[in-house]
């Protein structure tokens, strides 16, 4: 499983999703929880889905049909993705300790 670039925003999204890994959330909900604009969130979710850390699905038809609105897309961490994400997050330098120029960041590709 490849590791995506762990930008600060990506880390924030991951931490939020990992807060409640069983729960499915729609895109706007993630944006609100993380505190980032939707335009930042969707690319991150797309990348996470590409590497298999996150999965998405359409809303249950009975719910949105009853409410008379179009369906939403829900996102959720995958079990393997949760493990991989926790590992990767643990290896990220903690806030306040910015890596200096030349300091090797935790290796990305093939880390799994």
């Amino acid at each position: 499983m490849k590791t995506p670039r762990l930008t600060l925003q990506t880390q924030l999204v991951l931490r939020t999703l990992l807060d409640d890994p069983e729960r499915s959330r729609y895109g706007l909900e993630v944006a609100d929880l993380v505190g980032l604009p939707s335009g930042t969130i969707y690319p991150i979710l797309a990348r996470l889905e590409q590497v298999g850390w996150v999965t998405s699905a359409w809303e249950d038809p009975t719910v949105h049909e009853q409410e008379g609105r179009p369906r939403r897309r829900f996102y959720r961490v995958t079990p393997d993705g949760a493990t991989a994400a926790r590992d990767a997050l643990a290896r990220v330098p903690r806030a306040g300790r910015r890596p200096r120029v030349g300091w090797a960041l935790p290796s990305t590709d093939g880390a799994m």
């Binding site: 995506p4 706007l28 939403r72």
Partner: protein, 325 residues
Amino acid sequence: MTPDGTSLGRLVGAVRLRHPDADVELLQRVHACAARWHEGQRRRSGEPFITHPVAVATIVAELGMRPPVVCAALLHDTVLDTPCTIDDLTADFGPEIASLVRRLEDPLPDAGEPRQVDEVLILKMADRLHNMRTLHCRSHSSRQRVSRETLAVHVPLARQIGVETVGRELEALASAVIFAAAAAARARSLSERLLAWTSAVLPPAVRTRWLEEWYGELATLPTRRARLRFAMEVARGMPRLAAALRGMRGVPAERRASAPFRTVLSGLVSVLVGGGVVALGPLAMDVLAVAVLGGVLVLAVVLLHRDDGPARRLVELIKAWRGTK
């Protein structure tokens, strides 16, 4: 053979099938008379008006109605739209047919045989059905109005008087118009238009999926302001999303922008140069664009992401051309 002739043949056949001893000669006389009254009149689609009564009469005949009703169908617009009067019809074709036509405009609740009332209603259904089948030439608002009326009035009525097939077709035709308008109306909101336009950079295969997701979110936002803000935020993130979906991680924004940059340059030059320079291909337009801006460096940035032969040869050509200046 005129179009009328062909459809008249079909009409006669339909009548004969269900009423073998029908007075075909009368039917033909009625058709000729209606054609004369409606001569010079045209439908919105440009066809001779007579095609409408013939179509309605055919629907009525195929429902198995009696020949007098079929004749009334052929004449149903004569009294309304032409100098023809009920008295004329009575004189030419007798009281029964004239009475049916009169009832179309003025369905008296009394004195009519119940059978006649039913038959007149079926005539109205058939009239509406043909109109629904030929809605295309009407204005958008007219189509909406007619469809809504059909769903509210004619569909339940058709069920009640027992012409199920007509009711079903009316419902299908009217619903299609209403739903199409609803979909188009939704797309007209500014937020949705913004999303639809900016999502053009996404890979076509997934574009609809993302648009549907965002339209779903839009539907949950309470105010227009919130919807616009959402649309603008998503629009701002569109290039990044496009990059993520194409799997190009970590590509600098300038390189990714170069393809649209070229297109914009070419577009700009074609506007500047004007319509005379029609024969130039896109690559030549790029050359021209760069020449106008006067920078080989710009050209190199623009073309560098392509490493194919033609691009390299062009760069050499430009360099050489600039060398002669």
